[in-house]
Symmetry: C2
Subunit: 768 residues, 2 copies
């Protein structure tokens, strides 16, 4: 672990003391987001030390021209990346003419930052002695409104402590921003206008190529000891920036405050000619409301989220802080309000992979959103892929597939493939399976079959077609095989018969056939429409069945386990515990070929299949495979520990389950992978939630029934979580001795607890 400095606290992420080397980590950890926009926890005032500046507007991306060393046929022309958006939070401060810059002060004391997750705000306070020996106390608070999601607010207080001082504020907007991960140093933004009116300023700009129009806006206000000052300002505008400057002579001990509202309006939501008008209206609205009232709304909005999504853990503050951090960041990233959006692996906390959609959504995030939100949210996530079906078919065509076969992209913003490593782009095709699985999972959990005849079945058909075409018949083995793939374990590339891929491929075909029959029976109009549209024939179905019924699965008689891929047993099978610490993480210490031919597993691969299809296997089979593969797993993917935690819990290995839980829940807080500076691992945070609910709580759906097998780590006194199951809210509280179930709602719910049926009455507490 890199950099453990976050104070233990049940509800907040707290940093104490200023250390320049932590700045970039804290910028990631204390990022703010409201689903519509987000930003790293950059300082408002100028900071000349090392920092990674980032503001982001959901859905506003840039297709950066692909950069490769050696082009391979089929590579996409561009990589859609999240754009660093204009900065609206900036407030430069000078004190007696000297710029306040934490990197250059004589002294910085009592530095404290708090990301208050309960109420959704970020505060910072410190006492600084400048080079001119003026000592000031600074206190700031900032949040991005959940209620009015085009707006954020900042209060910035400065109190001179040892002298009267001339304190000038220069709040500004800055469109002169770049992406650190730009491939060709292209210009991403074209500024169209820079305006101001009264205390408001606006920059309208357009993204190159994608032509998103965005208005970045601010409104500012100065007060002294809480009283608003009416005062003159100077305005400095340039080609891509605008700043107001307020000059204030402040008496020692008095507090001068700049209040700044700011944010974005974009033509994703408004007419592009109305962007300033809408921004103006919103700024007027929040100015009238005032900072405090807006903050009060924020607390209430977060209280509503927490009421449904919170997990409490008693007796283990690190674990409690970890899970809340995960739940908080997931909600900052995606709230399900906008079906055009998805959950980027880095959310609004960084650039790399940021904002784009991966299979993480289907494999890890959907269960969290199904259980903690209205089921419409998960449905939106499914629909996102439905809307991309045509592009997935085009993507498959580029790779030589025909007849409506669909290959969903590895990384995407608008349905087109963006990634460009052949072993991933072309070969990590298991992603298609997760997309089908999510359709199954959504129905299993919500009981809402209607999505399938409406939209889901078309997606399933495209996916089944892909798998049938992608498999080939091996005469030598008299079976169908899937050659040349990369499984979820990306530490093996271009392998044959990755067990996970073959298994989910067969399952996709079987499930599509089964679903076709159900739709034919119950939704004949939809069935006719879909058959007409997809031109699916009985002949083709026979081909599907031929492949699914004769799929090859590598298996070792000696070890009595399915093999991750054909060649796994030929490797030198030295377990991770025998690997010197100096060699880890292997992705930083070893060359790629050495990783590939090693037995080390980046993330659960065979075990991922056992997780999805748990009911296909006995507990003994799970145990055997867990015992075989876990010792080779280095968990260098953020998506790895959660599945292991769930399976360890199922096997009753609570110590191990707890260890994996901590690792997944505090991955970023404790910076296990030495990379938190670049941003947070948002999608894996949903895996943390699963570790508790499915792992410790043992929650499953068994034949349309919620089922629990509650367990509790030795370190904990108790834990609780809530789930929304088919519009009934069930609260589960587990202690070492008992489990309490409490149902909110209008009707009874029959559940299974450790395999036994228990009926929970509405608004009644049941203890088991």
């Amino acid at each position: 672990m890199n950099n453990i400095y976050i104070q233990p606290d049940n509800w907040s992420i707290i940093e104490e003391g200023f250390e320049a080397k932590r700045v970039k980590s804290s910028e990631s950890l204390m990022s703010l987001g409201n689903g519509a926009m987000g930003q790293r926890a950059n300082f408002e005032e100028h900071y000349s030390g090392e920092t990674f500046q980032g503001s982001y507007v959901a859905g506003v991306y840039y297709p950066d021209k692909t950069r490769v060393g050696w082009w391979k046929n089929g590579y996409p022309e561009y990589f859609a990346k999240v754009l660093n958006a204009p900065n609206w939070i900036g407030i430069n401060v000078t004190i007696n003419g000297e710029s306040l810059d934490l990197a250059k002060c004589n002294k910085v004391e009592n530095f404290r930052r708090e990301l208050n997750m309960k109420e959704g705000w970020l505060s910072r306070s410190f006492t600084a002695t400048l080079q001119n020996f003026i000592e000031v106390k600074v206190e700031t608070k900032r949040f991005l409104s959940l209620e009015i999601d085009e707006i954020g607010a900042i209060e910035y207080h400065v109190t001179p402590l040892n002298n009267d001082a001339q304190i000038n504020f220069s709040p500004y907007l800055d469109n002169g921003i770049t992406n650190e991960d730009s491939n060709w140093d292209d210009k991403f933004w074209d500024v169209l206008s820079v305006n101001h009116e009264d205390e408001q300023a606006f920059i309208v700009s357009r993204t190159m190529k994608t032509n998103f129009y965005v208005c970045t806006a601010m409104q500012t206000q100065v007060s002294l000891n809480g009283e608003i000052l009416e005062q003159d300002k100077t305005v400095n505008d340039a080609i891509d920036t605008i700043a107001f400057t307020y000059q204030n002579q402040v008496t020692k001990g008095d507090t001068i405050t700049l209040t700044k509202f700011g944010g974005y309006t974009s033509d994703r939501n408004h007419d592009k000619n109305e962007l300033i008008t809408v921004a103006k209206k919103t700024l007027n609205q929040v100015t009238e409301l005032g900072f405090s009232a807006l903050l009060e709304q924020q607390k209430q909005a977060w209280a509503k989220i927490w009421d449904m999504a919170d997990i409490t853990i008693e007796g283990d503050v690190a674990a409690q802080q970890g899970i809340r951090f995960n739940i908080f960041q997931l909600n900052q990233t995606y709230l399900g309000k906008d079906a055009r959006l998805n959950i980027g692996p880095k959310g609004f906390t960084g650039e790399k992979y940021g904002g784009s959609t991966y299979w993480d959504t289907e494999a890890y995030c959907i269960p969290f959103y199904m259980a903690t939100k209205d089921q419409q949210v998960a449905k939106s996530l499914l629909e996102y892929r439905y809307h991309h079906l045509e592009k997935a078919i085009e993507n498959a065509e580029k790779l030589g597939f025909t007849n409506g076969a669909a290959l969903y992209p590895m990384v995407t913003m608008n349905g087109e493939e963006c990634h460009n490593e052949w072993e991933i782009t072309f070969e990590e095709i298991h992603r298609n399976g997760a997309i089908a699985f999510a359709i199954f999972n959504y129905f299993r959990y919500t009981g809402d079959f209607s999505y399938i005849p409406e939209k889901g079945l078309e997606v399933l058909i495209g996916i089944a077609r892909f798998w049938q075409q992608r498999a080939n018949f091996s005469e030598a083995k008299n079976k169908y095989m899937i050659l040349g793939v990369t499984g979820p374990n990306e530490y093996e590339n271009n392998v044959n018969n990755n067990w996970y891929t073959n298994y989910i491929a067969k399952w996709c075909i079987d499930y599509t056939i089964e679903t076709l029959a159900k739709v034919k029976e119950g939704y004949s109009d939809d069935y006719s429409r879909i058959i007409g549209k997809t031109k699916l024939t009985d002949n083709e179905l026979d081909l599907w069945k031929e492949v699914a019924n004769n799929m090859y699965f590598p298996f070792s008689e000696t070890k009595n386990v399915y093999l991750q891929q054909d060649g796994f047993l030929d490797k030198e099978l030295i377990t991770v515990e025998n690997l010197p610490k100096s060699q880890r993480p292997i992705n930083q210490k070893w060359s790629w070929d050495r990783i590939l031919r090693s037995p080390y597993i980046k993330q659960a691969d065979t075990l991922q299949g056992f997780y999805f299809f748990e009911d296909h296997f006995t507990i003994e089979e799970l145990e055997r495979h867990f015992d075989f593969y876990e010792p080779f797993t280095v968990h260098e993917s953020s998506l790895s520990p959660c599945v292991h935690s769930i399976q360890a819990a199922k096997l009753g290995r609570m110590d191990q389950a707890y260890e994996f839980y901590l690792r997944t829940s505090r991955l970023d807080l404790d910076d296990y992978n030495h990379e938190v500076e670049e941003g947070l691992h948002i999608t894996s945070m949903a895996g943390t939630w699963m570790s508790i609910v499915e792992g410790f709580g043992g929650m499953r759906i068994v034949n349309d029934t919620l089922s629990f097998e509650p367990k509790i780590p030795a370190e904990w006194n108790g834990y609780s979580f809530k789930v929304n199951f088919r519009n009934l809210i069930l609260k589960i509280h587990v202690t070492k001795s008992e489990t309490k179930f409490e149902l909110e709602g209008h009707r009874d719910l029959e559940i299974l607890v450790n395999g036994k049926a228990v009926t929970i009455s509405a608004n009644n507490l049941v203890t088991v």
Copy 2:
């Protein structure tokens, strides 16, 4: 085939008629080189159409910063590439004020170019009508002197045909050149000075990073109807160019001529402060000699080369032209005079891969140079790798190997790895085997063992160490394996147990052990020195033996063949003849993953092993493997057809052998792979030579004895070649009915013909 327009001719490459779309192809095909420098056949005068400009100085390279999409640990920081060098051939011409530009003339007639391979010069002639209606006849001749290899010469004649005309020549030097394959558009050259004195001009420049100092120089002279004119000129110099302008009023029918000598001196051969002085001296020398006398020298120098290296083919002009083109280009690229140089796959004819060293040298080129030059030339090529041994050890260390294991780079200029595709850079490790094989092959052919104790053994030890460490024990198969490699067939990546790689790895270890014993016995001082230096222990030798004696070779009982790699039989085994033409070449039509999982072979892989180690297998085994693999081979590597040609000949399948021969010998002339515009395939040209000598001639070394099994394609009346075998020159002439052997030299030679011993007396013709 793309673009067949080269006229059939025994000794020349002739193009008739001007077509803009052929310009880049002809620029490649008619490239000139003299081992020390080279250039594409760019026009001297300005040409505004599509052209690929290129001049190159042997050994002057630039380490271009690596560009990748996704960095993998272990990638080298840069790719050393051949540099486009300052242009010295340029002669701009204006006629009555209009620039002579073949892309803009009203009419171009009687356009003809000839690359005369017998005498080593390039000529061009045409009649052009300009937009100003002046009609001129132009005739040029150009060559790069073999004798004085820092100099080339041009004669450029213009005759106004329909009017008197003002004809101005502006010969120039231009250092404002760039590389088309530059990764980052870096500046490669830094110009230090631009000077002129009398009719000479000089630009001294330095390469960035590598700091090669190069002086580009010219001397010019104007004559009218063969009489030298003393006349004034104007000089235009700029920051990186210098031009002289000569103005001439020419009477209709008179011929005005510019003679230009030019070239390079560099600090690879001279003190960097003497570059201008040396250039001046050389220019004076050739000016005194004159164009015609220098050309006469050139003819004699080429006559000497042809006397030894020529292959004649009777009755098949396409085949004759093909082989001479190959021999000519090889000699233009590398003459063996400078042990610091090697044979770049594109020689002096293009940029991509250009000038760098690949395994092609050891696998394909050494036999040609051994047989057609003094044996010192082949020895220099071996020494090149000896000098890079330390870097090869460093390269292996970067990939995790220890204890002096050496991995030679895939692509290199100075011994450091340059390439950056993980599946090649890290995995195409078979290259190490070819480097060891060349040492064996050199000794087998020349009988000169002395190189081995002096230098070769150290290389062998480093290579054997690499193989032992790179193999791993598979408990499942109770054998040693080599996992995660790319064989010579680059259409499979990251496969396990590539038969060729495993076979050559075992052979390397066995051969090193055998050689160690021989050196111990016969060269005990060298042995002690080497053991001291390498710290080789008996323990380590035991490890080597353990691996070599227990190496795994994938084999199919059903097919009774060795398998190219573990998974080969699981592929869909559809032969090439069943692949629609529209799908070929697959490297242009298919995505990379599809190629990888297909059975299609880019170049001989298992068969390459059967070629190197022919005497380890029976003819029946060869036939079985040839019949199994050839139908899957698409020959999309220039290195593929020659091996197939040799083996088809051995199997008595002369039609097939002939077809492969044509394909290899006319690969560039007939542009089989649609890429001749980028440059020629120099290294595979040595394979063409092998196709005749080893394939049709059946030449082998059997127990220190030259052996022949002559065959002849039905299309030919006869063919002949010469070989230098241990300082005896043997000429072989094969016709349909008989084979004649003629020996130059001082002693008899016993050879085998079709397995029977025949003694050839010196200076006597023997007919068999």
